[in-house]
C-alpha cells in the first residue's frame, strides 16, 4: 500500500496529520514527497495506482512466474479487489483485508471453485485481519473491530464490536494484525510521515488483549512494519520494515528485524538499515544505540508479508525458513522487488537470503505484486496480489 501505489506507492504514502510534521517547512510537503531533497524535486517517480477492478484469472500472467524445480503456481481465486492480508477460519474460509477498496472478503472453497463474498465494506483501509475462536478481528485505520461467530453468517455478517480506537492523528496508517504466542493481538502504528521525529504513539509495533484491554508498546523506532510472524521453535517475533524514501535508488534498504523481547528500539528516524545516519534526524545519534536489522532486504522493495514454513508439502530444506513477499518498488528509477524470497536463519552465521518466486515484473512492466503469504493446511502456499485482486496457490510435487 502502502506505499499505493496506491501500490507500494501507498505504503510510503502514509504520512499523518500536519501537526506531526517535523517543521513548518516540511509540513508543506505531500505525504510521499515529504523528505525529498530539492535535487530530486523533478523526479517523475510516483506511487503506482491501484486498479479499481480486479483482473479476471484468465488475464493474470501467472505463467511468467519462475519457481524452483517441482513448484507450480496457479490462480486460486480472483475477483478480490485490492486483496491484502489473509487469515483462515476454523471451517476453511479465507478472510482477506484490503486498503483503498475498503472491503473485507471471505473466500469459500467449494471443491475446485472459490466463491468470494464481501463481509464488510466502506471501511477505512481495513488491511489487517485475524481469525480467532470463531471471531474475525479487523484493523482499519481508525478502529479495531470484532465480528463474532463470523463463519456462521457470511451472507449477513453481524455488526462489529469496536474493541479499540487508534490515536486520532494516525489518519494515514494502515495496519497489519497478527496473533502472538502470548495470545495477544499485535499491530503496527507506522510513522506519520516519510521521515520525521514521530510522537510515542507512532513508529512502533504494539499489542493488546483480545478483549481490547491492556494496550502496550512492544517495539519502537519501527518506521512501518506491515508484516510479522513468530519463529515456530523460539516463538520470537520477526518483522519486515519499509525503509524511508527519497534518499536515492540504492539506500536505504527495507529490512528484516528480530525482536526477541519488548522494549527494543530499531532506529527510526535516526538510523536506517543499521548503518546509515539520517541526513536530517541522525545528528548526535549513533547507529550503535539501536537494535540492528537481521538482514537488508533490498532498497525500496516493499517487504510485506512474512511467514515461517511449518508444513510438510515443500522439501525439507524449506522447513522453518521465512518466506517474504516483496511487493515491489515505486521510489526507484529501475523497479526492484516483485519477488518472493526465503530467509534461512543459521545459528552463528548470517541468514541466507534467496529468491523463491521471480517474474512479477517484466522490465518496467508490472505483472503482479505479491503482498501477503498464508499456508494452507496441506502445506501449500497462498499468496495475495493487491494489484490483480487475486490469490495464487503454490504447490510442490517432486
Amino acid at each position: 500500500m502502502s506505499p499505493s501505489r496506491l501500490a507500494r506507492p501507498l505504503t510510503v504514502l502514509l504520512l499523518g496529520g500536519g501537526l506531526l510534521w517535523p517543521s513548518a517547512a516540511q509540513a508543506q510537503q505531500p505525504a510521499w514527497k515529504q523528505g525529498q531533497p530539492p535535487s530530486m524535486s523533478t523526479s517523475p517517480l510516483a506511487p503506482i495506482p491501484a486498479p479499481p477492478s480486479p483482473t479476471p484469472a484468465a488475464q493474470i500472467p501467472v505463467d511468467k512466474i519462475k519457481l524452483p524445480p517441482g513448484f507450480k503456481i496457479s490462480v486460486w481465486a480472483d475477483g478480490i479487489s485490492n486483496a491484502r492480508s489473509m487469515t483462515f477460519g476454523d471451517r476453511g474460509t479465507v478472510f482477506l483485508g484490503s486498503r483503498v477498496a475498503g472491503n473485507v472478503y471471505a473466500v469459500v472453497d467449494r471443491g475446485g471453485k472459490r466463491e468470494v463474498k464481501v463481509v464488510a465494506k466502506g471501511l477505512m483501509q481495513p488491511s489487517g485481519v485475524l481469525f480467532k475462536d470463531g471471531a474475525l478481528y479487523v484493523a482499519e485505520i481508525p478502529r479495531l473491530l470484532k465480528f463474532e461467530n463470523i463463519e456462521a453468517s457470511l451472507d449477513s455478517p453481524p455488526a462489529p464490536k469496536v474493541l479499540y480506537e487508534y490515536p486520532k492523528e494516525s489518519h494515514h496508517n494502515w495496519r497489519y494484525l497478527a496473533l502472538g504466542p502470548d495470545g495477544k493481538l499485535y499491530f503496527n502504528m507506522g510513522a506519520p510521515c516519510n521521515i520525521c521525529d514521530p510522537p510515542d504513539t507512532h513508529a512502533n509495533i504494539s499489542r493488546i488483549n483480545l478483549d481490547g484491554t491492556g494496550f502496550e508498546y512492544y517495539a519502537r523506532g519501527v518506521r512501518n512494519s506491515v508484516g510479522f510472524d513468530w519463529h515456530p521453535v523460539t516463538k520470537e517475533l520477526y518483522f519486515t520494515n519499509h525503509g524511508r524514501d527519497w534518499m536515492g535508488d540504492d539506500v536505504p534498504n527495507d529490512t528484516l528485524h528480530h525482536a526477541p523481547r519488548p522494549g527494543l528500539h530499531f532506529g527510526y528516524p535516526h538510523c536506517h538499515q543499521g548503518d546509515i545516519q539520517d541526513p536530517d534526524f541522525g545528528a548526535g545519534r549513533a547507529c550503535s544505540e539501536f537494535a540492528p536489522p537481521l538482514l537488508k532486504l533490498g532498497p525500496h522493495v516493499a517487504a510485506m508479508g512474512i511467514r515461517f514454513y511449518t508444513g510438510s508439502m515443500f522439501p525439507s530444506e524449506y522447513r522453518h525458513r521465512a518466506f517474504i513477499a516483496l511487493k515491489g518498488s515505486w521510489n526507484r528509477t529501475q523497479k526492484s522487488g516483485y519477488r518472493i524470497m526465503t530467509v534461512e536463519l543459521r545459528p552463528g552465521a548470517p541468514p541466507r537470503y534467496e529468491v523463491f518466486a521471480d517474474g512479477f515484473r517484466d522490465g518496467d512492466k508490472v505483472l503482479g505484486r505479491p503482498t501477503y503469504i498464508q499456508w494452507m493446511p496441506d502445506g501449500s502456499m497462498l499468496v495475495s496480489d493487491d494489484y490483480h485482486g487475486a490469490i495464487y496457490r503454490i504447490t510442490y510435487q517432486p
Binding site: S4, L6, G17, P49, P52, S53, P56
Partner: protein, 204 residues
C-alpha cells in the same frame, strides 16, 4: 456486494435506461465505451451529455482518468463519499457498469467552465502548485493520472468546496493523501490555487 444485489442493481439500471441488452450486463468485465455511453445517459441531466457540466458546484467529468471516476463511483456506492444528488445515481450502478461509464467519460473531451478568475490570484497560485507538489501527483498540467483527478479547467465552486473540505478533514478521500497535503495550505493558498486550477486549459 453479493451477486444478488449486483443483479438487483443491474436490474434497476436496466429499468432506468430501458435500453440495455442482456449482453451488456453479463459476461466478461471487458471495458465497453459504447455501453458506457448508454449507461451514462441518466447522468447527463447534471453532468451534461458528454460529461461537461454547466451548473456551478457540479463537476465536469469529461476527460477524467478512468481509474479516478471508477474509484469515486465505488466510494459513493459504498457510502464512503456522500452527496444527496449524486449518491442515489451511484447506488443504481452495477459492479459491471462502473468501468464502462468511467471509460466513456475518460474518452470525452473536456471543455472549459466559465470562471471569472482573477489574474493576480492565478499568478499567485501557479508557483504554489509547484511548491506543494500538486503537479507531481496531478501531472505537470494538472490533467490527472491513474486514481488522481484532473483539476485543470474544473468548475471554480466545486474546486473550492473540495479543497476546503480536505483542509477541514471533512472530505472523503480515497487514500488519505489529499487530506494530508491540504493541511499545509492557508485559506489564501487555497483561494489562489483554485483561481489557478480553474484558469488552466482542461484538455491537452
Amino acid at each position: 456486494m453479493t451477486s444478488r444485489s449486483v443483479a438487483l442493481a443491474v436490474l434497476s439500471v436496466i429499468a432506468l435506461l430501458g435500453a440495455l441488452t442482456a449482453a451488456a450486463t453479463t459476461g466478461t468485465p471487458a471495458v465497453d465505451v459504447e455501453a458506457g455511453r448508454r449507461k451514462a445517459e441518466v447522468c447527463a441531466q447534471c453532468h451534461g451529455p458528454d460529461g461537461n457540466a454547466t451548473a456551478p458546484g457540479t463537476p465536469s467529468i469529461a476527460g477524467m482518468p478512468a481509474f479516478y471516476t471508477h474509484w469515486q463511483l465505488i466510494m459513493y456506492r459504498d457510502g464512503r463519499r456522500r452527496d444527496p444528488q449524486m449518491t442515489p445515481f451511484a447506488e443504481r450502478l452495477g459492479e459491471g457498469d462502473l468501468a464502462d461509464v468511467a471509460a466513456f467519460y475518460a474518452a470525452q473531451r473536456a471543455t472549459a467552465r466559465p470562471a471569472s478568475t482573477d489574474p493576480a490570484r492565478v499568478a499567485a497560485g501557479r508557483p504554489l502548485a509547484e511548491k506543494f507538489h500538486c503537479t507531481s501527483c496531478h501531472g505537470p498540467r494538472l490533467l490527472g493520472q491513474g486514481q488522481v483527478p484532473r483539476l485543470a479547467g474544473q468548475d471554480f465552486d466545486y474546486l473550492m468546496k473540495r479543497l476546503s473540505g480536505y483542509k477541514a478533514k471533512s472530505a472523503s478521500d480515497l487514500d488519505g493523501m489529499m487530506t494530508m497535503v491540504a493541511q499545509g495550505l492557508t485559506a489564501a493558498d487555497i483561494e489562489s490555487l483554485v483561481h489557478f486550477m480553474a484558469s488552466l486549459p482542461p484538455a491537452p
